[in-house]
Symmetry: C2
Subunit: 360 residues, 2 copies
């Protein structure tokens, strides 16, 4: 999807003479724009609750460095965004995976299963909602239940909501944990302009918390790296002024892409997949022995009209060894026609691989 | 100093439609520009030796996260850039300070003093050359000696050379540890466009190493945060095409500023200061009891023609408790006239403070 022109226009008009450091917690105009955006979601934030970061990535890294000590634990439903591993490990922390499975549509909001993982070393529960790689979106009741667990056990709840606008069923609305004000001291929201405004290369995100001690720690990390790139903050500020119908149009386009992928996948015999409710991804179990081996074969041996197809093998999205071996993550970030062709190629590839390599 | 127009022009001409992630190790054109810049310094780099980072800050953070385990040690001459503390501590490391003093002009290149600090837990020696906050520049012989220590004890040598172009005595040339090819496996160079091209707000730096294991670790951290801001890398690439006389003009301006500050400081009775050989800073011992208290007094009680002056108190630049109490760091990043007035104000402030507060 194209990045809104507002981003480039704002940067082209910005002529500071000397490109100086911005304030460490972020450019005031951008913080105010985000404050207003959250107010429209029904979430009241002080300016001091928002720390601009270099993408959602830095928000995650600073969060982990702030709240984790060596050997403390973070509960994360698996499969999960693989870079969580690096951020948690950089802080010396340990991931306690909450297993899910394709048979249950990768749903993870089960109170008993989550509470069973909590130990004296647990510091946080971390979720991506809507989910990458599964597309799972929590219902309001599920969000409330997870908030209750965090509150009851005095854990941080790290809610990575960078795909917030991409929910394909109206029942979910625009999800935001920030509406539960009784968990203000527990909640950490990770956010970014990357997906919301199709501007990944801007590297502008933020971390939001009302916990005062955590704010102190985050500020220290923000100060240590001086500031987030000035021009990108200028551009990101402008992004928050796009018309609301931008989100609707953008969501419609991704819904079409998702539907195209699902229609294609359902035609392939033996594929286990549930329709993703949000984000840009679908996780599926393929009727192959090993998705990584299959991917390599697709790249090296397979070709149909001189074309082949590439996906993300599932195993790296899991913490538990052996999980996800025959699963894949498909990102529906291409245009509909290309996606349709890609899924058709996948189907042909599976059929040939099963016959030639698996001898079925 | 103004940022070269090349930065803004390159960004204004860049119109990608969709602002996508750059490659995790950095934009190829920027890596090639840096490769060429180093070739002109007599340092041969492969593209894979250079990792573009979000400022020198991220280069330092990723370096520390890559090479330090909890309780391992880094030897750093003090006073040093205070953010080193955050980066080393984020990785669980410990700073072993190599003390210096204003009486010796903050010089730290003493083989016996450095080797005395090396233990089984030492992983690295970290230097800033030219130095922030002291302005100390290593001679060629001193650089070679420190390289020898790193090699002999198999330590990493982290050489933060972001002020490389700002050496005010021709005998230093343009210092770069990268010329000692026999320490390829030990050396980590931290670099940035912030000072070189007066473009702090671009947040574009790099970390350079030929150590293959370290490259693997750095790549993992680079991948975890996806990429450095795309537009800023486009601008930074253009910066490396400025005419060589840009550096000369820039250095001349800073030399004038340094000379103005030194002339002023030498007129103030009781100030202990040695002429800094590089960077934009001068560290000085003032004839006051406590620089932090004095600074507060300057801001709250002192005024001359409705003006006062601000500097950085010295203590936070030291690891050793009690050190630097009556020292200050002055950054000569303002224009000459303003610097002259600032130092005059400092002199007046010291005189009044000694009389009114210290009773001298």
């Amino acid at each position: 999807m194209p990045t809104p022109e507002a981003f480039f226009n704002a940067i082209r008009c910005f002529d500071p003479g000397t490109l100086a450091y911005e304030a460490s917690p972020g450019r005031t105009s951008l913080i105010e724009a985000i404050q207003k955006y959250y107010a429209n979601l029904g979430v009241t934030l002080d300016k001091g609750d928002i720390f601009i970061t270099t993408g959602g990535s830095e928000a995650l890294l600073f969060t982990c460095l702030s709240i984790l000590d060596p050997y403390t634990e973070v509960i994360i439903p698996e499969p999960y965004y693989p870079n969580y591993t690096t951020f948690v490990h950089a802080a010396g922390g340990v991931i306690r995976a909450l297993p899910t499975c394709p048979e249950e549509g990768y749903h993870y909001a089960f109170r008993d299963r989550i509470e069973k993982l909590i130990t004296n070393n647990t510091r946080a529960i971390m979720i991506t909602n809507p989910g990458n790689p599964t597309g799972v979106v929590l219902t309001e009741e599920e969000m409330r239940m997870i908030a209750d667990i965090a509150k009851k056990h005095d854990l941080f709840l790290i809610s990575d909501e960078v795909y917030r606008e991409f929910c394909y069923d109206d029942k979910f609305g625009v999800p935001c944990m920030g509406r539960f004000t009784d968990i203000d001291d527990n909640l950490i929201i990770v956010d970014s302009v990357s997906k919301r405004f199709s501007s990944c290369g801007a590297r502008v995100g933020c971390v939001i918390t009302k916990n005062k001690d955590l704010q102190q720690a985050l500020l220290k990390f923000c100060q240590s790296r001086l500031s987030v790139a000035t021009m990108d903050q200028v551009g990101a500020t402008a992004l928050y002024s796009v018309e609301p119908d931008y989100f609707e149009k953008s969501k419609e386009e991704y819904r079409r892409r998702r539907d195209a992928v699902m229609t294609g996948l359902r035609k392939i015999p033996g594929v286990l997949v549930e329709e993703p409710m949000g984000a840009f991804y679908v996780m599926a179990r393929l009727p192959v022995d090993d998705a990584d081996k299959f991917q390599q074969w697709l790249l090296e041996e397979f070709s149909d009209d001189n074309e082949t197809v590439m996906f993300a093998p599932g195993a790296p999205f899991y913490e538990t060894p052996g999980s996800g071996i025959n699963e894949v993550r498909i990102a529906y970030v291409l245009e509909q026609k290309e996606l349709e062709r890609a899924i058709a190629l996948l189907g042909k590839g599976i059929a040939r691989y099963r016959k030639e390599i698996m001898g079925l």
